[in-house]
């Protein structure tokens, strides 16, 4: 009774479900938070499309905008994220605009593609620092929770810390792109019915990853 065995071993063996599973599920961890915030507007979606396209631009393979990643982000944030992560994600929009203004003197939407990229790349140190802190924070909460359990303290409530907004945007871009029709069929070798298994196949650098219906 365990296709979990398969999932788990893929998880254990590849780390390959981190985005599709652990990350955005991590965004869903607190059952009491969540429910939808205010609706995103078309201009919000256009903004997220631009962020996504900057992360995954169109090349010889489709870009994130073509894969409607902006729209996908809003669905995921509305339906799957905790309130806290929803808030952080929304504040990210203003933060990106502020960073762009500082760097280029105008809003993100008005920036040229290379300027957009420079803005998002400039977030990197702050993102890394935030996520490292968050990891520490979660570990602390784990320890506190264990201690509370050991002491029979049933009143203990975990505290949470939101992800960095750009981590969410980047993860949702990767997830949204590679699970979209455009990304799967355009950027990977999509094989819904392989018909056979070959366990020893020659591979050369540049050959695309195989994907399936899942």
């Amino acid at each position: 009774m365990d296709r979990r065995e398969l999932l788990k071993m893929v998880a254990a063996a590849t780390g390959g479900v981190v985005i599709g599973g652990e990350f955005f599920l991590a965004g869903c961890k607190n059952p009491e938070a969540g429910t939808t915030g205010k609706d995103f507007t078309d201009s919000d979606i256009a903004f997220f499309d631009e962020v996504a396209e900057t992360i995954f631009p169109k090349t010889s393979t489709p870009g994130a905008k073509e894969a409607k990643v902006g729209q996908f982000m809003t669905v995921m944030v509305n339906d799957c994220y905790t309130k806290e992560n929803q808030k952080a994600f929304r504040e990210g929009q203003a933060a990106i605009n502020a960073a762009c203004k500082k760097m280029h003197g105008h809003d993100f939407m008005k920036a040229a593609p290379e300027h957009k990229k420079a803005v998002l790349v400039s977030l990197d140190p702050e993102v890394k620092e935030h996520q490292a802190k968050r990891k520490e924070f979660i570990k602390e909460q784990d320890d506190l929770e264990k201690k509370a359990q050991a002491n029979g303290d049933t009143d203990f409530k975990r505290k949470t810390m939101p992800d960095h907004y750009f981590t969410m945007m980047k993860q949702l871009t990767i997830l949204g792109y590679f699970t979209s029709k455009e990304g799967r069929t355009g950027a990977t070798r999509y094989e819904p019915v392989p018909g056979k298994y070959i366990g020893d196949l020659d591979y050369k650098k540049g050959d695309k990853v195989f994907t399936n219906l899942n």
Binding site: M1, G15, T82, P194
Partner: protein
């Protein structure tokens, strides 16, 4: 021919065990009704998501906050998902109480969890059937390997089990269809483990109930297409389920009636004859009560629900229910413990890949506490794992964003290999389920209260479960090997066993050696409820064999007028 509520046999439940009971009883000539508490799912036609690509799911298969709120138990692990959510029973309609945490993941529909199972199929060995007796734990099994061996053969030839012949005493070979293939890295790891441990440890293909070669008796089933979509139901019938395999066989006899939406609430017990007359059901949709009558009853409602039905039956004679005279009904609940192991990176195979999505991984059979070895715990564990190249979900540390990142993630990453241990749990009288005093389900029926925990033996075993995998991966040359113990709650393994155990003595067991309830000989329990110990291998194949064996016995007993 039977009228509309009288049959030769009633089978309660339509999962792996119920499907086998229905097939064996009808093929032996009994007019049989199979009662399923949930809705119907027709083979092929009702596997609505079987060809659905991930992009057609709004949340790409994940879970929403609403789902989390609606499924307070299911949310605790992977089953809460968007792909096959309707295959998992509603926590809202079917609540249960937890004196201690128990993760109970149920499938209430025709086919039960045979639709969603992991398909891993392993024989038990004589070592397993003798373990309780040798260790002085709980009670001995009333049967030995040689009693069940012909029945393993019987069910394997019909279900179709792929695997490799290994001739291992602790993991007897089945009758195999051609084995699925280990990939190039797994073969390398296998060779290195074998050499280092002098053949004492082996890495083999995970044995599963998938069709990989001719299965003449079941032309409706064709070979696995390596889509890895098993979980949504397979239109090729490539994996064993009630729908793909036993149900068509039972239907072909013309002797099977399928009753859906039929929640069996109790067995109707006749105190004069000391036999069951039939069962009483509640229609899940109309709430109407209806009685069915039969000469024999097979309880195959899943381990905990079969026990629940017994607890709700004949309470005027035995307050704790039919089969409770030994004081063991509802006790000795077991599962497997897991979520502990290791994984690492593999170098040197950058020019190798694989094609197809193989629906199994590798298996490392038990190697601890065999022969003269004595660890500081009893029994052992096996590993399930795989080697694969990283997918698009991996981190690419040196690339933040842009075309380079997209291109890099469009190619497979480096190889990883890892495995998770599945360990045997011991039966304990105080690991028990009872009827809760207050809580009721949607139909006003009492629900189970769980008081089950893993104990010292399991905790000690986990030390080896973690360390042994790390050591084997390092010996195989893996780099940056990380071990982990993600802890687990009972039930999470979805291998519930034990609450109506078999035995040699009516004073210490619920069932005899033929799965008959000691206190009511025309009631048979053949699902996980009957298990006396847990072994460390996946249990479903053993339920199939025990069910077929008990069904053959029951028909003989009917002929002899003994039941």
């Amino acid at each position: 021919m039977a009228d509309n509520n009288t049959f030769d046999a009633i089978v309660v439940g339509s999962g792996i065990s119920g499907g086998w009971a229905a097939k064996e009883l009808t093929e032996r000539g009994l007019n049989t009704i199979m009662l399923e508490r949930g809705f119907d799912i027709k083979h092929g036609k009702d596997y609505e998501a079987t060809n659905r690509p991930v992009w057609e799911y709004p949340h790409r298969g994940g879970k929403t906050q609403q789902m989390i709120a609606d499924y307070p138990h299911l949310k605790r692990d992977y089953p809460l998902n968007e792909r096959n959510l309707h295959y998992w029973a509603s926590d809202k309609d079917n609540p249960y109480a937890e004196t201690k945490r128990f993760d109970w993941f149920r499938g209430y529909h025709v086919g039960g969890r045979s639709l969603m199972w992991g398909r891993q199929s392993y024989r038990w060995s004589e070592i397993d059937f003798k373990a309780n007796e040798k260790d002085g734990i709980a009670i001995p099994w009333p049967i030995s390997y040689k009693d069940i061996e012909p029945w393993y053969t019987h069910v394997e030839k019909f279900a179709g089990i792929q695997g490799s012949y290994e001739n291992l005493p602790q993991l007897p070979d089945s009758h195999f269809l051609p084995a699925m293939e280990l990939n190039v890295v797994e073969k390398d790891v296998a060779a290195k483990i074998k050499a280092h441990y002098n053949n004492k440890r082996t890495l083999i293909i995970g044995r599963t109930a998938h069709v990989t070669g001719p299965l003449g008796h079941s032309p409706q089933r064709t070979n696995c297409q390596y889509r890895d979509m098993c979980w949504n139901g397979c239109p090729f019938g490539a994996y064993f389920s009630t729908q793909s395999s036993t149900l068509p066989a039972a239907m072909a006899t013309g002797k099977l009636t399928l009753g859906i939406n039929s929640i069996v609430k109790e067995i109707i017990y006749d105190k004069d004859t000391k036999m069951a007359k039939g069962v009483r059901i509640i229609d899940a949709e109309t709430n109407q009560t209806k009685d069915y009558f039969s000469k024999i009853v097979f309880l195959c409602a899943s381990a905990l629900n079969s026990a629940w039905i017994l607890m709700n039956s004949a309470t005027d004679i035995w307050p704790d229910g039919l089969g409770s005279s030994s004081g063991e009904l509802g006790h000795n609940v077991m599962d497997h413990h897991f979520r502990v192991g290791a994984s690492g990176e593999v170098e040197g195979y950058e020019d190798k890949y694989y094609f197809g999505h193989r629906p199994t991984g590798f298996y490392i059979p038990r190697f601890r506490n065999l022969g003269d070895e004595k660890r500081d715990y009893l029994r052992g564990f096996g590993y399930q794992g795989s080697a694969s190249r990283n997918g698009w979900g991996r981190e690419v540390a040196e690339l933040s964003i842009g075309a380079e990142l997209k291109d890099a993630l469009s190619e497979p990453g480096g190889w990883r290999v890892g495995a998770t241990a599945f360990g045997e749990t011991l039966p304990h009288h105080d690991n028990k389920i009872t009827l809760d005093k207050d809580m009721k389900d949607k139909w006003g029926l009492p629900v189970l209260n769980f008081d089950v925990e893993f104990k010292e033996n399991e905790k000690k075993m986990r030390v080896d479960m973690k360390a042994d995998m790390k050591e084997m991966l390092e010996i195989a040359g893996a780099k940056n090997v990380r071990d982990y113990d993600n802890d687990n709650a009972p039930g999470m393994g979805i291998h519930e066993m034990g609450p109506a155990r078999m035995g040699r003595d009516a004073k210490t067991s619920v069932l005899n050696s033929n799965n008959q309830v000691w206190d009511c000989k025309n009631v048979f329990v053949t699902d996980g409820a009957c298990m006396v110990s847990a072994a460390c291998v996946n249990p479903s194949l053993t339920y199939m064999a025990l069910t077929a064996r008990a069904a053959a016995f029951a028909v003989e007993e009917l002929k002899k007028m003994n039941v």
